[in-house]
């Protein structure tokens, strides 16, 4: 493993990579919008007091029959599409970041222990990881939720995390195996540094860069997965906002020509994921020692 580039150098390259900047900008906008949702949306679509059937199925404001303040129209319960999208992105991001945090922490820990100690921990955790991995996160999450039968954001986060940690564990293990052999780790070991100190001070920080790429890619994957699960009706319940759920509702109306209930939430979802992927692509190139730039 070559030494990671210094921070300033990375930042410099970031500034010279328009797609990466665009990606981060998109992500930033989404995060800000999600954080400020209560203040910037015309309506809280999940506050029953605010939503009224009076304004149901309105087209976007520029079409005939459109009506302020429903810029992108309303759905069949009279919820403002724009507001629902923003609240839905909030769910997407909450699920995305929570899973990355939970599955990431657990996976990194497992990978670290497996890679550093080897032995039965390694055999056991990697065999488990292999199995979970070959089932694929999506299949496992669908099956888990199908079996759990309880919908809700927490359940979704739990199910995806259970299915997802192996991504981190495998990468981390590989990375640790390389770092372990590096001269400075060997040297520290020779001076009699204790395992814990060695792990935290030397192995962990040097093994982490590849994990960053996994984090970025995974965030996109998890957001898509949450939408998929909610679309299938095994994810977030009807009473909570979700882009997948919006598209699932909107799908019933495409034959009635009401395209806006699918197209806008779909566009928001794609934009969000593209933004994350643009950033992930840059990060991957940046941290891949094999391809010089």
């Amino acid at each position: 493993m070559t030494k990671p580039r210094t921070r300033s150098k990375m930042f410099h390259s970031f500034l010279h990579d328009p797609p990466a900047m665009a990606g981060s900008a998109i992500l930033l906008v989404f995060v800000l919008a999600a954080l400020c949702a209560p203040w910037i949306t015309p309506q809280n679509p999940y506050d029953l007091q605010q939503v009224s059937l009076e304004h149901f199925l309105k087209p976007p404001i520029w079409m005939e029959g459109g009506e302020a303040p429903f810029v992108l129209g309303t759905d069949d319960q009279g919820r403002d599409i724009l507001s629902t999208i923003i609240y839905g992105c909030r769910t997407s991001l909450i699920v995305g970041f929570s899973v990355v945090l939970i599955a990431g922490t657990f996976g990194v820990l497992m990978g670290l222990l497996a890679g550093y100690y080897g032995g039965w921990i390694d055999v056991f955790s990697m065999r488990l990881a292999d199995t979970v991995f070959s089932f694929s996160t999506t299949l496992l999450a669908i099956l888990l939720l199908g079996v759990f039968k309880k919908t809700g954001i927490v359940t979704v986060i739990a199910a995806i995390s259970i299915a997802d940690w192996v991504r981190y564990a495998r990468t981390m293990r590989g990375s640790v195996l390389e770092v372990k052999e590096e001269a400075y780790v060997m040297a520290a070991k020779a001076t009699g540094a204790r395992d814990f100190r060695l792990l935290v001070r030397h192995v962990l920080p040097n093994a982490i860069p590849p994990i960053l790429v996994v984090v970025a890619v995974d965030l996109a994957v998890v957001i898509m997965l949450e939408a998929t699960l909610s679309f299938l009706g095994v994810g977030v319940p009807l009473t909570e906002p979700s882009l997948g759920m919006m598209i699932s509702i909107g799908k019933n109306y495409i034959y009635a020509g009401m395209w806006w209930m699918v197209v806008f939430p779909g566009a928001a979802l794609i934009l969000l994921v593209v933004g994350i992927n643009l950033f992930a692509d840059w990060l991957r190139e940046e941290l891949n020692p094999k391809i010089g730039r």
Partner: protein
């Protein structure tokens, strides 16, 4: 070698057992299938009688033991909903899923690898950039959304492709195929495209990345320098090395393919196994869900094992870890 294979086999069996046990325990504590099986007007006593008839009154470990014993004899229990063997119910749907997944994989592999190679040769030309942008879209649009959008565009607005079902099918022995009729093929276009899209983008990006690495290698540079024909350099020297990880990846993505076939089949009402699974989940048809999970686990573990063993045979160095 024999020890290695044996060890993998034992591990496989242990995993299968673990999967079945987890399924069983979870189901034990969720939902009571008996209530719906006794009919709308059944009294409590009648409900208990149904419970006894299906052996659901016995302790979990007894039920589990019986399940394993029966499973070893190829009997996975009867569906609570249609009251016929669950395995048969699933296998009956296999041809539909296979034809869909196979077509999708074919599209993904040929287009993915082909475009990946082309793009890597001319990275800065504008068609390449366009393809790369497209591949970014490909990995950023979830399968269900691809499906809904394709239905909207080709099914609803343009009205040129049928958005649901399998169309006209032909029965050949136990296999019911939609590949032999024009109508069946027409019905295959949208779902197969939907299922292929994500895989295509992944394989394209993988091929491109691999090609970029290989093309930078010394021996390729030497080959160019020697003035060998480009086709030979690319196909014989470069692509061969890239293809192994790509194909392995495609093989290992089997679980992913099953997962996304569930999504695709649901959107297009494709009468395959994934559609059945989701319906069974909605209806709490436990025997079918468990059988499906066991079957998927069995297939995935077998494929992994075969891949690993082949690797061990081809590359003696990694045999014993």
């Amino acid at each position: 070698m024999t020890t290695y294979i044996l060890r993998r086999l034992i591990q496989g069996v242990v995993v299968l057992l673990a999967v079945s046990m987890i399924c069983f325990i979870i189901f034990r504590y969720l939902g009571d299938p008996v209530l719906t099986m006794a009919g709308k007007y059944a009294t409590q006593q009648e409900i208990e009688e149904v419970r006894r008839a299906f052996g659901l009154d016995q302790p979990t470990h007894v039920q589990y033991g019986r399940f394993i014993w029966n499973a070893l004899h190829g009997n996975f229990g009867k569906s609570y909903v249609s009251r016929v063997p669950a395995l048969g119910l699933i296998l009956e749907r296999f041809p539909a899923t296979f034809e869909l997944a196979f077509t999708a994989m074919l599209i993904a592999l040929t287009l993915g690898v082909g475009l990946g190679v082309l793009v890597s040769l001319n990275p800065s030309s504008w068609p390449s950039r366009l393809v790369m942008a497209g591949s970014l879209g490909g990995i950023s649009i979830p399968t269900f959304l691809t499906g809904v959008l394709l239905i909207m565009i080709f099914g609803v607005y343009m009205g040129i492709l049928p958005p649901f079902g399998r169309g006209e099918t032909v029965q050949i022995g136990f296999w019911r195929t939609g590949l032999l009729t024009a109508d069946g093929l027409k019905h295959l276009v949208l779902p197969a495209t939907t299922l292929a899209m994500y895989q295509l983008a992944v394989l394209l990006r993988l091929t491109r990345a691999g090609m970029r690495e290989v093309l930078a290698e010394e021996y390729i540079k030497t080959a160019w320098a020697k003035g060998l024909p480009p086709g030979k350099v690319i196909v014989k020297h470069a692509l061969r090395n890239v293809l192994i990880p790509v194909v392995t990846m495609a093989g290992l993505q089997f679980g992913e393919l099953i997962a996304f076939s569930i999504v695709t089949e649901t959107i297009f009402q494709w009468p395959g196994m994934g559609n059945l699974l989701l319906q069974s989940i909605y209806e709490t048809d436990q025997p079918v869900i468990v059988t499906y999970i066991m079957l998927a686990a069995f297939l995935i573990i077998t494929i992994n094992m075969v891949v690993d063993i082949l690797y061990a045979v081809l590359n003696p160095k990694i045999r014993y870890d």
